[in-house]
């Protein structure tokens, strides 16, 4: 198994400890697929008597099948291809993604998603702010900037992938939409695995964590999902407006919440540096580790903590295997 070279200055003891932790991780990882990872110009073993199809990232040179990219060899029936690591995001329908609006165009927003093209969020595939269902008029189109403006961070779902490769998004739920009061982190998309839940509300810390499948991760202050039924009630609508204006005035996040946001943010940075899969369990474990070891928030980014996390992860996987 390959491990990318980590760009951190270790002292001699840290280096030894880190290497031992990585060795243990490698011995724990399933041996079935261990020879499947290739680097450029590696030979991919194929049975030449059977017919096979050359897929992405492969090339035939002098009768041998060679890898042209780094990654993992995948075989589907006759097709042999290399699934690249560290590439751009490959969308699948139903993925929850976090992106940044880069353009407000006719009836649509263009969203940066670390995909080969920009994602398209149509005005018609958004719920109206007041929750009503109707055709969008030209007035709605003129008021698009009331919903999202350029640079806004939004959360949406992949609706479909068009034949020309462009990506359609939709945000037909209250949980999707604009994200505020927090920070956006970017990790390599392969570090995020698709799972049932991508929205996490860490109640003990009061934090919302959205792990987008495209490797964009949002860590922010928790916001209650507003019920659209409440908005229809005129009286409550006024209340909403007054409360929202008052929250705008005290835009400062409480210090404790902010500390939690920063701690989670740094935990994700550490995991991304180490090349570990980013899931909510691993993140909370890393946060707990930093708390129990009394590591200062900024000190989480130093080499010593990286080694600690690597050792912890090896230990965690060993325990998991035992069970």
């Amino acid at each position: 198994m390959m491990m990318r070279k980590i760009q951190l200055p270790f002292t001699q003891t840290q280096k030894v400890r880190y290497e031992r932790a990585i060795e243990r991780l490698q011995s724990l990882s399933s041996t079935v697929n261990s020879d499947a990872s290739v680097i450029v110009t590696d030979t991919i073993p194929v049975n030449h008597e059977d017919a096979f199809l050359k897929g992405h990232g492969t090339s035939e040179v002098d009768g041998e099948l060679l890898a042209t990219v780094c990654g993992v060899v995948e075989r589907v029936d006759k097709l042999v291809y290399v699934r690249t690591l560290r590439a751009r995001y490959k969308p699948e329908v139903g993925d929850i993604v976090v992106g940044r609006v880069i353009e407000v165009a006719q009836k649509r927003w263009r969203v940066e998603l670390n995909f080969t093209q920009d994602g398209v969020l149509m005005l018609s595939s958004m719920n109206m702010p007041d929750g009503s269902q109707r055709r969008r008029t030209s007035v709605d189109e003129l008021n698009m900037r009331n919903i999202f403006v350029e640079h806004d961070v939004v959360c949406a779902e992949v609706r479909s992938i068009q034949h020309d490769g462009s990506l359609q998004l939709h945000a037909r739920s209250q949980k999707y939409g604009k994200l505020e009061k927090g920070q956006l982190l970017k990790v390599d998309p392969y570090l995020v695995k698709r799972s049932k839940h991508h929205f996490h509300y860490i109640e003990s810390l009061g934090i919302d964590l959205i792990i987008g499948c495209n490797g964009f991760i949002w860590v922010g202050e928790h916001v209650e999902v507003r019920d659209p039924v409440m908005m229809i009630d005129g009286q409550k609508d006024d209340e909403m407006i007054s409360s929202s204006s008052s929250t705008k005035e005290q835009s400062h996040t409480p210090l404790e919440t902010r500390q939690n946001i920063c701690r989670i943010g740094n935990a994700i940075r550490v995991l991304s540096n180490l090349g570990f899969t980013v899931t909510v369990q691993v993140i909370t474990e890393t946060v707990n580790l930093s708390n129990s070891k009394n590591v200062d928030i900024h000190e989480m980014l130093c080499s010593e903590f990286h080694v600690l996390v690597a050792e912890n992860e090896a230990e965690r996987r060993r325990e998991k295997r035992k069970k």
Binding site: E180, G182, G220, C262, H298, L301
Partner: protein, 287 residues
């Protein structure tokens, strides 16, 4: 240029006001800094400095030259900075030129002092080999590989590290020579002489975001800045240069306040940097 939504801007500024920035730092804390020396074997001295996501390389190349007629008792130093398009796509083509020349000018001012050569961080007289005839020309080249804010501080640290790493060969000049002829020189392959860098300053940039000023701003923070003051301080705590960027004005008392803060910050930074440079040098000798 990084994009930042209104919500993120509020969050960022609020964090600075509360002394807890997005990566958990205080206002006057630097990111983790890594120094590597001797990265370019062809150069006389080189260093790579990483401050968080900012990554720069500096190299020092020495050539035998002739002193200028105005200053026959001094060597020459030139600073060039290049912003690689790998750092940001907009640096491609001529996009990075403006920033490159701005950085080079700021560094030149801080390192070389005034036109007369007074107040120079590099002792230009030590570069002289024979008065009016032969001297060393130092070409200091900086390359920005990846940019995450605070380029000037990173470059100054890299230049200091590269100069510490620099070894100039000993030069023998034949004594008797006619007045209008260039003397014969003999460059030694074995004997080298270390460069004295104790007086080379480092730059501390204070970036004002909202009401407060911070050191070592990331790119996101820099996108929200109103102004930035770069102060170069040497080991003795003397101010060697000062440059300001950004449109908005500053009160005189704030500048003085900033200078004293920069002095204080530079002291710890200089000590840290020195120990990191010597560790990097030791590491290089080993391998």
């Amino acid at each position: 240029m990084v994009a930042c939504s209104v919500g993120e801007q509020h969050f960022l500024k609020g964090g600075i006001a509360q002394e807890l920035r997005t990566d958990g730092r205080k206002r006057l804390t630097y990111r983790h800094t890594y120094v590597e020396t001797g990265v370019i074997p062809q150069a006389n001295g080189s260093a790579r400095v990483r401050i968080g996501g900012t990554d720069v390389i500096a190299s020092v190349k020495a050539e035998i030259g002739r002193p200028s007629s105005l200053q026959p008792d001094k060597g020459k130093v030139a600073v060039f900075i290049d912003c690689s398009p790998t750092a940001e796509p907009t640096f491609g083509g001529r996009g990075g030129e403006e920033l490159s020349s701005e950085l080079a000018l700021a560094l030149q001012r801080c390192l070389l002092g005034g036109k007369s050569g007074a107040g120079a961080g590099i002792n230009l007289s030590s570069l002289l080999i024979k008065e009016g005839r032969v001297c060393w020309d130092l070409y200091i080249d900086g390359l920005v590989i990846s940019s995450d804010g605070n380029l000037l501080d990173a470059l100054s640290a890299a230049i200091k590290a590269a100069l510490t790493n620099t070894a100039l060969p000993k030069v023998q000049v034949s004594a008797e020579v006619a007045d209008d002829e260039q003397p014969e020189i003999d460059i030694s392959d074995e004997e080298y002489q270390q460069f004295d860098t104790s007086s080379v300053p480092i730059i501390v940039t204070l970036t004002k975001v909202g009401e407060h000023y911070i050191v070592d701003a990331t790119e996101e923070e820099e996108s929200q800045m109103s102004l930035a003051v770069s102060i170069s301080v040497n080991r003795a705590g003397h101010i060697c240069g000062l440059t300001k960027r950004g449109g908005s004005g500053l009160d005189q008392s704030v500048i003085l306040d900033m200078i004293s803060v920069a002095k204080h910050v530079s002291e710890t930074l200089m000590n840290k940097l020195d120990s990191k440079i010597s560790a990097a040098e030791a590491c290089e000798d080993e391998s």
